[in-house]
Subunit: 265 residues, 4 copies
């Protein structure tokens, strides 16, 4: 087992991107092999954090090492700030590109990980669940599977927001800053559904999907709507519900289930 | 000596703010004292990084431990991303508040550091030099001294920017995102000069200032203009020039000089 | 919530000691208070890792943040290498002193934590379970409670070891290096029972104890023997057994139980 | 540029070994290449810390990033505790093996670094200078160059130590623990000279050597003796002296000189 805290210069962020990583090998091989992780079938799981969070959320909150060791997974937890893992126009705020392109390329070039779609998964909770779906659909040739827990699928609510809204979470300017013109967000590439349908139309296979949401979660309704959308699209979807709220008591056991589902694929 | 990597929840950032810190004590005292750093006269120096950088720039690039040990300083290097250490309107992008209020309060509450103006300094290079001047003038009752190296004093150039400009550094949207209405930035609270003059008018003592810039630095002109402004204002300023470009070969020796100047004060 | 990775110079280690820490505060107080953690009743739990492990074991393997947040605990995970948390004669190998004195003093002086026995607990698994019992009994005026999971209570087996033994775990030299004269270890201060009885004889209250071991754990027998010893001594002990082996599947849920038991005290 | 903090399981340490690393690439290549560092000619410099120190000494004390960027070097700073980078008999205290074999193999397997002797250097100051010479001579087919600054070449003094000696640095037990039978250390494989001569006798090319010591350093005499030994052996040696003591004021500029000398080779 090895643990890594890495920062690398990201063009998309115009600064240092960062991630924690847990690699599952128990010891070093005696003889040198190129790309050892690739050759021994280590798969990669990128795990995204939620709004208000950071790169160490999965580290301090869950059991990252166990996911790595039990399933021979490189578990990678990048920082996405409050970006919803989207690209903005301003230089340095391109989190979609950072996660879906630069991070993947860094893992490939530096460690020989994430070398093909079948071995590369993306998951997350809350804003990170949105990010997992969105990034997975934005890069369907990179990611073979998506695990979206309690996903913050707020894209359809954006058009009803107004400058006068009061929210303890974030102000109107934040949403405009993050999603651009709110009246158009639903139809834009920021909407995972738009990306999903485009891939399908183009004949590009979308990733397999594991979704879960607690029945007491304040996000249960948009999660059910996403389930309905994906079912209608005949997506390769497993959707789970059960008692639970928006916290690690729900996410940790669901992560085991999600990983097992994706690895079966 | 102790070294710290700390993340704490920041309201201003709607997420985790972070800093590295080097504390100078050689050993622990035998008997408990409240706020040991405060009682033994440890002063605090917050060091800001530049554009494209991060919290570990001072760590990997310079000699943080030596500054701490030679001068009995708590050296603190927070992350400011590409914010110019300013507040934006959107939730989570209030870096001025993060540095000037939350970080200082965290240092006070957690370590008994930065307890009064005479003991609290802020410095930086490039964007961080701008940030040091701006934050120092925005919180003149918190900071007794400012060290601004090769400062990115670009505030007067903003009004000439246009959506069609081409820059390898950042696009037009970035500048609008960071500084707001570019035609008004010069007159706004984003301009350190505006803050400086306001303090003076109100009878609030501005911090002492150490400025330095290399004569080969592409930012030499706005640094000289700032020098002229401050001299005209009869600021408590020491300004240094010398051969040098925009890199650590200039900043490391200047940091020693700057610290010594501020500590004399 | 704040997270810390700290290294500080330790006389006992003749080098840098280190720990991770998770502090539970949700936000900074508006007004300065001395020793904020002390004043708000934050208790401290030091968690020790096992043989072959390190300071980040509890971080990568369990749910450190949840322990901190649910129970208003400062959770602190120091590095103890393979020392069994004992003092050797050689300079720099005094882990008992490092954990029981220097680390506690650092937490007191730097954060106002662990200020009295009632608020200060020590726990661990495997070698760390041994360390928790040993350190707790070595410093009965520092620690009010001990949580010992699947403890490596090997002290009675040491006298039977010989230079010719073969073990995949460690060689004979390691045990001599760690415990000194193996024929005398049982009677020495390296034996937690010796310390426990001495405290009792002197009228010093030993800490409350939570012990647990899985019935499939290879260490179940010495754990039962320790239970019997402590019962005979009329210790303030809660002892739990249940299905389980020597891994996080047993330790994570037991940590919740142990914390709850100690906090009731 | 990327920065890494890595821990990996070491058989030699029976626990986690660790290092910091600074990699010099400015950006990621667009197309995947196996072992990118190897292909682009990135060389590797392992830097060892001194007694009382740790893996972050070079990080906090010197300019690690600048060494990486100016010279296209992977700069790697492992933790060696107070081991003098030697192997002891007890399980888990094999630092020579950790640095000279396991760390190198990890760098090869994980990053494609340190793939051949010409590209692989080892340096250090004080105890780390001793370690650089010793490890370089112990693995002459791994290391092409050694940079030894203010080296703690105490091997000839060990035989005069006695159990009654008083030293603020370390006690007698520490030296026995570290070097074994002190009367025999000089003639053992713990003495770099023994290794140097054996390599020569066997026709194995010893690494090139850069040595430096300050004239005010308390270690100047054994450094001059080592210089004399190496000259007599007709080693490929550059030896520098100059005003200076046992601190970073001497080591930082000497590190630049040492790197430049080794890279010329």
């Amino acid at each position: 087992m090895s643990t890594h805290f890495v920062r690398f210069f990201s063009q998309a962020l115009a600064g240092m991107g960062e991630f924690y990583m847990c690699l599952p090998e128990k010891d070093l091989p005696v003889f040198l092999k190129d790309n050892p992780y690739y050759q021994r079938g280590t798969k990669t799981l990128i795990l995204l954090h939620g709004y208000n969070g950071g790169s160490s959320d999965w580290l301090y909150g869950s059991q990252m090492q166990d996911y790595a060791m039990k399933y021979n997974l490189a578990v990678v937890t990048p920082a996405g700030r409050n970006s919803f893992y989207l690209n903005k126009k301003a230089t340095g705020y391109h989190f979609q590109t950072f996660i879906g392109e630069e991070l993947v390329r860094f893992l490939q070039n530096t460690y020989g990980l994430a070398m093909n779609k079948e071995d590369t998964f993306i998951g997350g909770f809350s804003m990170g669940g949105f990010g997992a779906l969105h990034t997975g659909f934005a890069y369907p040739e990179t990611f073979g599977g998506v695990m979206a827990l309690s996903s913050a699928l707020i894209i359809h609510q954006l058009k009803d927001m107004s400058p006068k809204m009061q929210s303890p979470m974030a102000n109107y300017e934040y949403y405009v800053d993050t999603f651009g013109d709110l009246s158009k967000a639903e139809k834009s590439d920021h909407n995972p559904e738009v990306l999903y349908k485009r891939n399908k139309r183009k004949g590009i296979a979308n990733p397999r999907i594991y979704m879960a949401c607690g029945t007491e979660d304040f996000l249960i309704t948009p999660n059910r709507e996403m389930r309905d959308f994906l079912k209608k699209q005949k997506a390769d979807l497993k959707y789970e519900e059960g008692p639970g709220m928006h916290n690690w008591d729900f996410w940790t056991p669901q992560t085991y289930k999600g990983i097992e589902y994706l690895l079966e694929g």
